[in-house]
C-alpha cells in the first residue's frame, strides 16, 4: 500500500507549488491512474515517490517503508518506467537489461532467464542482440518497461508508458502490465490517454495545480459527473478547457 500524507514540492525559484499538500492512498494490487493536464504535478509526484526528488514537506510510505528511513530498501521494492527511454543506445537490448538487472543485485542464470522470458513476452526476443539505437520507439518503450520489472517490484511507477507508440506496441505493453498486476504488482501510472486510463485503471485521481481534484473508480466518476459520458468529459469538467502552457 502507498500512503501519501500532505506531500508538497516547490521547485527552487518557482512561484507556485508543483504539488501542494497532496494526500492519497493507493491500495495493494491496484492499477492506479494519475491523470491531469500538463504541469498538473503528475511527474513531480512520481519523481518524489521514486526517490528522484526531495519533497519540500510531507511524507509517504510504500508497503510500510518510510521514504526517509528506508531509502535503499524502498528502491529494491519499486520499479520506475520513466518517460525517457533511459537506455544505452550503443548497447544491445540484452546488454542493457543485464546491466540494469545487475544494479538490482540480480545475477547469473536467474537474471538471464528473467531477461529472456520478458523479451519473449514482449515480442523482442529476436532483437535481443541488436543495439538499442536501431530500435523503433515502440521497441524502446518495451525494453524500457522490461528494465524496470526485472527485479519483480512490488510497486511499479509508469510515467506515460505508451506515449508515442503504435497501437500494437501499446496493446502488448498494457497486456503485460495487466499480467504483472495479476501477479500482485501495484501499478501507478500517468497518462494523457484518458480512454486508455478509463479501461486500464482500477482507480484514478485527477490532479490539477498540484492537488487532487477528484478520485475514484473511472466508471463511478463518469456517473457522478453530470452530463459526462466518459472519463475525458469528467476530466474537462474538473480541470477546465484553458490551455496549460508553461515556460
Amino acid at each position: 500500500m502507498i500512503q501519501i500524507d500532505q506531500l508538497s514540492k516547490k521547485y527552487k525559484g518557482a512561484d507556485f507549488y508543483a504539488v501542494k499538500d497532496l494526500s492519497l492512498t493507493v491500495h495493494e494490487k491496484e492499477i492506479f491512474g494519475l491523470l491531469g493536464p500538463n504541469g498538473a504535478g503528475k511527474t513531480t509526484l512520481i519523481s518524489m515517490l521514486s526517490s528522484l526528488l526531495k519533497p519540500t514537506s510531507g511524507s509517504f510510505s510504500i508497503n510500510g517503508l518510510d521514504f526517509q528511513e528506508s531509502k535503499n530498501e524502498l528502491k529494491q521494492h519499486i520499479g520506475i518506467v520513466p518517460q525517457e527511454y533511459a537506455l544505452y543506445p550503443s548497447l544491445t537490448a540484452f546488454e542493457n537489461l543485464r546491466y540494469f538487472g545487475s544494479m538490482y543485485g540480480l545475477k547469473g542464470d536467474s537474471l538471464q532467464e528473467n531477461i529472456i522470458s520478458n523479451l519473449k513476452t514482449l515480442g523482442l526476443y529476436d532483437f535481443a542482440h541488436k543495439r538499442i539505437r536501431t530500435f523503433s520507439g515502440g521497441m524502446k518503450r518495451r525494453i524500457n518497461l522490461i528494465t524496470s520489472i526485472l527485479h519483480h517490484p512490488k510497486v511499479l511507477f509508469l510515467d506515460e508508458p505508451t506515449v508515442g507508440v503504435d497501437v500494437q506496441s501499446k496493446s502488448v505493453i498494457l497486456e503485460h502490465l495487466k499480467n504483472l498486476n495479476g501477479q500482485g504488482t501495484t501499478i501507478i501510472y500517468t497518462s494523457h490517454h484518458l480512454n486508455e486510463a478509463e479501461h486500464f485503471c482500477t482507480r484514478v485521481a485527477i490532479i490539477d495545480h498540484g492537488k487532487v481534484v477528484c478520485k475514484g473508480v473511472p466508471q463511478d466518476l463518469v456517473v457522478e459527473q453530470k452530463g459526462a459520458h466518459n472519463l475525458e468529459e469528467v476530466f474537462l469538467a474538473r480541470t477546465g478547457k484553458a490551455l496549460r502552457d508553461y515556460a
Partner: protein
Amino acid sequence: MHRLWASTYKEFLLLIRDLGGLAILFLMPLVLLVVITLVQDSTFKTVKETKIPILMVDQDSGTVSESIHESLSKSNSLEIIKKSSETEALELVQKGDYQLAIIIPKGLSRDMDKKVTANVNGIMTRLGLEEDSVSTAIKIEPKEIRLYFDPATQLSFKSSIKNGIDKMVSKIETRTIYEAFQEQLTEDDSEIIFDTESFITFAEIVPGGNKNPIPNSTQHNVPAWTLFAIFFIILPLSINMVKEKNQGTFIRLRTQPVSYATVLGGKTLVFLLVCLIQFSLMLFIGIFLFPFLGLPQLDVSGKLPLLYLTAFFAGLAAIGLGLLVGTVAKSQEQSAPFGATLVVILAALGGVWVPVFVMPPTMQLLSNISPMNWGLNAFYDVFLRNVGVSEIIPEISLLLGFFILSTLIAIMYYEQKNAV
C-alpha cells in the same frame, strides 16, 4: 562487488562500441607526442645544425667589426648577411624577413684603440714606465652597437644574442688592452708576455657517473607530453558522464539500489586501463618509431616498473578530476571546454610548457598544487635521475591523495545535489 564488475563491463562495452572515439582516444595523444617531440627536437637541432640568418651592417670596417663577424660566424647557429645600409636592414627586420640586424657604428675599432691606448699610456706613466707620454686626457664618446630585433622574436633568443655580443665585445676589449700593454712593454712582437686564452672554461657533467648520458630531447619530452596526454582523459570521461545524464540512464541508476561510488568505480577501472594502454603506446612510439623519424630513441632500460607505477597513479589523479568534472557539469558544452582548459592550465602550472624554476615566485608556489607537477617530477625522477621507488613515493602519494579527494568531492556533491 558484482555491481562494480557489471558497471566496469558496461563501461568497457560503451568504450569499444565507439570506435571513432576510441581511435581519437589512443591516436591523438600519440600524434601530440610525435609532433611535440619533432618540434622540440628540431629546435634543439636549430642550435646545433641549422643557421638563423641575421643582418650585419658594418660601418666600422675595422678590427672590432671583423672580430664580431668572425665570432658570430663561428657560432654555427647564425648566418651573417652583410648589408651596407642601416635603413635597409631596419626595414627588412621590421617586415619580419630577419629576426635581427646588428649595426656596428663607424669608427668603433679606431676609437676603441684610441681609448685603450690612452688608458694604457696613463697607467704606464703612473707606474713610471713611460716618460714622455701625453698627459692630456683624450675625450672619446662611448660607442653603441645597435641591435634591431623583430618584435616577434622570442625573449630567450634576444637575451642569448645580447649576452653573446656582450661577451664578444668584452673579449675584444680585453684582447686590445693586452695588446696595448704588449706594445708598450716590448718591441719584439713574437715575445709573448700575456696569455690571452680563457683561463676558465665549463664542463657539463651529469651526476651519477658515466652510466647516465646527457638526456636528449626524447628523454625530456616523453615524460611531459605523456603526462599531458594522460590528463586529457578528463575530456572523454566527463563527456561520457554528461552523456549518461542526457540519455536518462543516470536517472534510472538513481532509482536503483546502487551507490554512486560503485558507478564511478566502474568508470575508474576502465579509464585507468585506457590510461595504461595509452602510456604503453607512447613508450612503444618512443622506443620503436622515434628512431625512424630521426628522433633519439627513448631509453626505458631498467625503468619500466617505476614508469608504470607513476603512470598508474598519474592516471588515477586524472580520472579523479574527470569524475569530478563529469559530476558537476550539466552539458557537454560545459564539460568539454572546461576540461580542456583545465588540463592546459594544470600543464602550464605543472611545468609542462615552462620549467617551474623560471616561473615567478607566486607561480612556483602555485605549481605545487598541480597534480601534473607531481607526476612530472616523478617521471623526471625515473626517466632522468634514475631513482628508486622510495624517491617517488612522495609524488605518487600526492597523486593518490588527489584521486581520493576529487572522487570524494564528486560523491559528496552528487549526494548533496540528489538528496531525497
